[in-house]
């Protein structure tokens, strides 16, 4: 899986065609490729010992074996809830032949050379790439370590290595029955050379891969001992909280801090270009101090901007802007037939990770330490260099567990801000954003305006398909050089350009319309596919209903030769009971089918809509083919969680701007799904021998269209704008006038009776 980047050609070449396909799609993936320009597999350090002070056997960047028998695995991809540590540890442990209970995991330090994700080309976690791209490299690393440890044993026994087996870290010479533990071999192994080409296990011999292994990170999560970034305490540390200018691109004009400084526990008021922070003995003092400031802002050019304006501008750009071609097949203009068109609109979205944004920073004249949970440790070093002027080797990023990422922690803006605060004092400062700040200063999923149309043949199948998306490019802000040759951001057309369906003539293009006035945008769980699959799968549902076909029948008819998609569809039909039995009035069942991130999914969501328009989720069935499954337990959890995340957004979430500032503040107005609104979710995995696909974001991608299609089935109302407008779903005007009795029989739970 060597891959090569040739900046001159602005093209990415891969030896493996399947990976080429993944690469073509996915702005995030392309972005990182470009940043790093990495052209090598996982780096191996020189030598096989960690360093002079630490004599542990360290055959590569990922495995450490101490002579006491301890085994540490170093995690190149960060854990933010998606089970990455367990998955990565499983790959390493499988080839190393140890149990997950025998190892401990460590966060990798910031080091692009050693820990750059070979596909992302940077030290980063995102784009549902962890398992896809650790699949070979981490198994290589484990196998290399194992072969060196076995070689050391064989040397000691003076036998051939092939006569030795390993179980749970114990090497056995089969014929003599002699055994040696890894710990006993660590020193000797460190003097051997790593194998040029480690031999990997035959998948049929897998002991761990494919089994529902216990997660390695959960014990500390149920007893409260596992520290997240926000839990860091370092000696002499103080706590700060911050408020940035409510409009983007605005600056700080003046602060009156007389009242704040009088509050006991307030230590210092720190001014930044566009923000004020208060440092206190504890968060409460800092927060009270912040609230006591009288702040004047220069609101800047964005002061009048609103989301109404944004959508007007997007609609206008969609009509009059210059499209950039994403993909063209055949000639859509040469086709005639019945034309169906629709317009879709998606809102700005915040991440609202449970752990609010935070970073702990100590800046000294000779160095800088940063404790933070980040998806991009190396980028955090970069930003600290810029702010402090210190060289990279003087900056240490101590990565931490994250209370959710969802793309938010791919951005190091808050780390830069924290360094900016910490450099004004000589003690370490933990900067914690309030939830209000976390929502008002996020990097938002951009808003989109999409026009889509199909020309149907006499069977109702699409002969031609055009899909024009209009919106901002995250890639262009995140990694400008990664933009395609013709200015294309591949993320904008991911899962729109390549459909699971057979469409002989197709044109998918994009009109770039960047957010004005520096409104910050970012990657959000599911990235391009979350946006495009909503549009495509809603529209396929519209087409089915337009031609009077059942949505499943219709999909079957247009799928063509696509066995993996067919398999998930058919299993979903079976498990959901699609088409069997009548649903009560105002109940509906909706489907979505797609192939995001190299996996295939079909999700069926059941809803009930009250006469007043309230939507209640009743049940969901998700069928997944994500190729070879490393941990079915994690796959199930990710799909369940991803669905909840997506439904939340579709039902309630939308960031709106007024007078240039975000209107939402906290979970009271940036609402998310609660337990009593969550239905039972069944996840079925289709056995597959294909290479692993991504899973972390897939549920989110599928949630939105399966929900709105179900609402259509229940009410006949097509929702083309998110979040859904529940007032549009009322049965009739009179329903809204009927008293909502407190003891009405609307079921509170998602469970079926």
């Amino acid at each position: 899986m060597m891959l090569r980047v040739d900046p001159a050609q602005e093209e990415i070449e891969l030896q493996n065609p399947m990976r080429r396909e993944w690469l073509k799609r996915g702005g995030l993936v392309v972005a990182f490729m470009w940043l790093g320009g990495v052209s090598r597999v996982w780096g191996f350090p020189e030598g096989t010992r960690l360093n002079a002070d630490d004599p542990r056997f360290a055959p590569n960047a990922f495995v450490r074996v101490g002579s006491d028998g301890s085994i540490q695995l170093v995690m190149p991809c960060i854990e933010m809830g998606q089970g990455a540590y367990t998955g990565q540890a499983t790959l390493l442990a499988e080839e190393l032949d140890v149990g997950l209970d025998q190892i401990t995991v460590e966060h990798a330090p910031a080091n692009r050379k050693l820990y750059a994700n070979p596909l992302l080309g940077d030290q980063a976690t995102g784009g549902s790439t962890t398992i896809r791209f650790c699949w070979t490299s981490l198994r290589d690393a484990g196998a290399a370590a194992r072969s060196m440890l076995v070689a050391a044993a064989a040397q000691r026994w003076k036998v051939d290595a092939s006569q030795c087996t390993v179980t749970r870290g114990v090497v056995t010479h089969t014929s003599s029955g002699r055994t040696l533990r890894y710990g006993e071999l660590a020193n000797a192994a460190a003097n051997l050379a790593p194998p040029a080409k480690p031999v990997l296990k035959d998948p049929k011999d897998f002991q761990l891969i494919g089994k529902p292994m216990r997660r390695v990170d959960t014990p500390g999560k149920v007893d409260g001992t596992l520290p997240f970034g926000i839990d860091i305490r370092v000696p002499g540390m103080k706590v700060a909280t911050v408020r940035a200018c409510p409009t983007f691109g605005g600056t700080l004009a003046s602060v009156d801090d007389t009242r704040a400084r009088a509050i006991p526990g307030v230590l210092k008021v720190v001014r930044l270009d566009n923000a004020v922070a208060v440092i206190g003995e504890h968060f409460w003092a800092a927060k009270k101090g912040l609230d006591a400031l009288t702040i004047q802002w220069n609101l800047g050019a964005g002061r009048d901007f609103s989301t109404e304006q944004l959508f007007k501008d997007l609609a206008d750009a969609s009509e009059h802007g210059t499209p950039i071609l994403g993909r063209e097949v055949g000639n859509v203009d040469k086709v005639s037939g019945k034309v169906v068109s629709a317009t879709y609109q998606l809102p700005l979205l915040a991440h609202a990770t449970m752990e609010p944004i935070n970073a702990t920073v100590h800046v000294r004249p000779d160095g800088c330490d940063i404790w933070v949970g980040t998806q991009v440790p190396a980028r955090c070093v970069d930003v600290a260099m810029r702010v402090t002027g210190l060289p990279a080797e003087r900056i240490q990023v101590h990565n931490q567990y994250m209370g959710g990422g969802f793309g938010r922690r791919l951005f190091e803006d808050s780390v830069g801000q924290a360094v900016g605060i910490a450099r004004q004092v000589d003690y370490p400062v933990k900067v914690i954003w309030t939830r209000e700040e976390d929502i008002a200063q996020d990097r938002y999923r951009p808003a989109y305006y999409d026009r889509i149309s199909a020309t149907l043949d006499d069977q109702g199948r699409p002969l031609a398909w055009t899909d024009r998306t209009t919106g901002a490019s995250v890639l262009a802000t995140f990694a400008p050089p990664a933009m395609g040759k013709n200015g294309l951001d591949s993320d904008l057309v991911e899962c729109a350009a390549e459909l699971p369906y057979e469409v002989p003539n197709l044109r998918v293009d994009w009109v770039r319309h960047d957010m004005p006035n520096g409104v910050p945008i970012g990657w959000w769980r599911g990235v391009g596919p979350t946006h495009n699959v909503f549009v495509v799968e809603s529209f396929v549902d519209e087409l089915a209903h337009t031609v009077g076909k059942d949505p499943v029948e219709y999909r079957r008819a247009i799928l063509g030769d696509n066995p993996r998609a067919k398999a998930v569809l058919e299993l979903a039909v079976e498990k959901s009971g699609w088409g069997k039995g009548d649903m009560p009035a105002r109940h509906g069942r909706g489907m979505a089918l797609a192939a995001p991130f190299g996996s295939y999914l079909c999700v069926v969501t059941d809803v009930e809509v009250s006469p007043q328009g309230e939507v209640m989720l009743r049940r969901a069935v998700a069928v997944v083919d994500c190729g070879t499954v490393v941990n079915p337990n994690t796959v199930e959890a990710q799909v369940q969680g991803g669905l909840v995340f997506g439904w939340s957004a579709a039902m309630y979430s939308g960031i709106t701007l007024k007078n240039g500032a975000v209107e939402q503040r906290n979970f009271n107005d940036y609402r998310v799904l609660r337990l009593n609104q969550t239905p039972p979710i069944e996840v079925y995995l289709v056995p597959s021998k294909e290479s692993p696909g991504g899973i972390g974001e897939t549920g989110t991608v599928m949630a939105m269209p399966s929900l709105t299609n179900a609402i259509f089935a229940a009410t006949g109302v097509r929702l083309r704008t998110l979040p859904i407008d529940r007032s549009a779903l009322a049965q009739n005007k009179d329903a809204l006038k009927s008293v909502l009795s407190a003891t009405s029989s609307a079921s509170s739970t998602g469970r079926l009776a």
Partner: protein, 431 residues
Amino acid sequence: MKIRRVIGTFIGAVVLIAVGFTVYAWVSVTHGGNEQAVQPAGAGTPADLSSQMARGEYLVRAADCEACHTTPGGQPFAGGVAFKLPFGTIYSSNITADRETGIGNWSDDEFVRALHAGVDKEGRPLYPAFPYTSYTALSRDDIVAIKSYLFSLPPVHAQARTNDLSFPYNQRWALSLWNALFLKKERFQPEQGKSEVWNRGAYLATALGHCGECHTPRNVAFAMDNGKALAGSELQGWKAYNITSDKEHGVGAWSDQELIDYFSKGHAAGRGTASGPMGEVVGYSLQYLTPSDLSALVTYLRDVKPQQGGLTMSSPTAPVPASAVATASLGEQLFVGACTGCHTQSGQGRETDYAMLTGLRSVRDPHATNLTRIIISGSALHVGGQEIFMPSFGRAYSDAEIAALSNYVVQHFGGQQGQLSAADIAQRRQP
């Protein structure tokens, strides 16, 4: 023919009287009554006023000037607060000492006249959203003290917003007719036979605190119906409850301590928490009253003629048990998700007493007038240097949800059959 003549004479008489009255109104408009009356007993500042606070500041607080003349987050006393009236919107004025946009070049006499007669510096009538109908009872000394305190603060340059009223309400001359009919330009007179404490309470409640402006029902001409003083009213979408001494409908059953707690902390356990406009009254005004003034206020309210009407007080009871139906209602579903964190399932408000729901009048109101306001817009109470707040849920929760939630709350905690529909909430959202 006779008939015609009679009618003609009648019309003539009416016109004549009208003209005469208008002339009278015009002439009397700027007249504030007896401006030289001596400071009566009961006026001024209390003996137990701490030396920290200036006399004028205390009176400004007691008269609750700041609430109406300060926008949320805005400069104190710089005006601009919108008052949405049935016939349009008016904005409060800048009462800082700024010479251009405030009252910096008003003389003492002009300021006194403004409060006594309800006219501006030029003698033009002010809208009675400015409670001059109550302030007219203030003593001249107190008004001058108020002015000198306002003038001791930094002037704020902030142009007043122009009112947005439709015809004929934008015709200020009509106000002089209204004043001629409804404004009694009389100073406070201590009532003989009542104690000194009672009279102080009366001065606080009527002249300074102008309680009646919200709590006394208004007649068709929008004037306070003093026959029903403090019997409760509704304005700007809020219910101002009956605060007469009636035990069932008013606050007669509250203990002295409960009343004092409510005034000074904005909360009386099992009785109520001040929110909305009353939260502002507590935050800007009542919490600063001295102990002697608080008891004076209590003494006076205890003696206010009991009036029936409005919601009955509930004794602090346990909530009606959660609905026994197998599946919970939408309202309950919302309550357990977004509300129990503070209010708790039992309504006892474990984290903070202020979140106690049981016993409140607002949860005994089947129309849930104040309750829906608070759910939609939230509530904030600044008291004792702390902020006690409830977030707003209006933006992310639908009309049907807020209706269902309100109906659940009034049923569960107030034993009332909630009557709200989604359409009602839609209407209440209208600004």
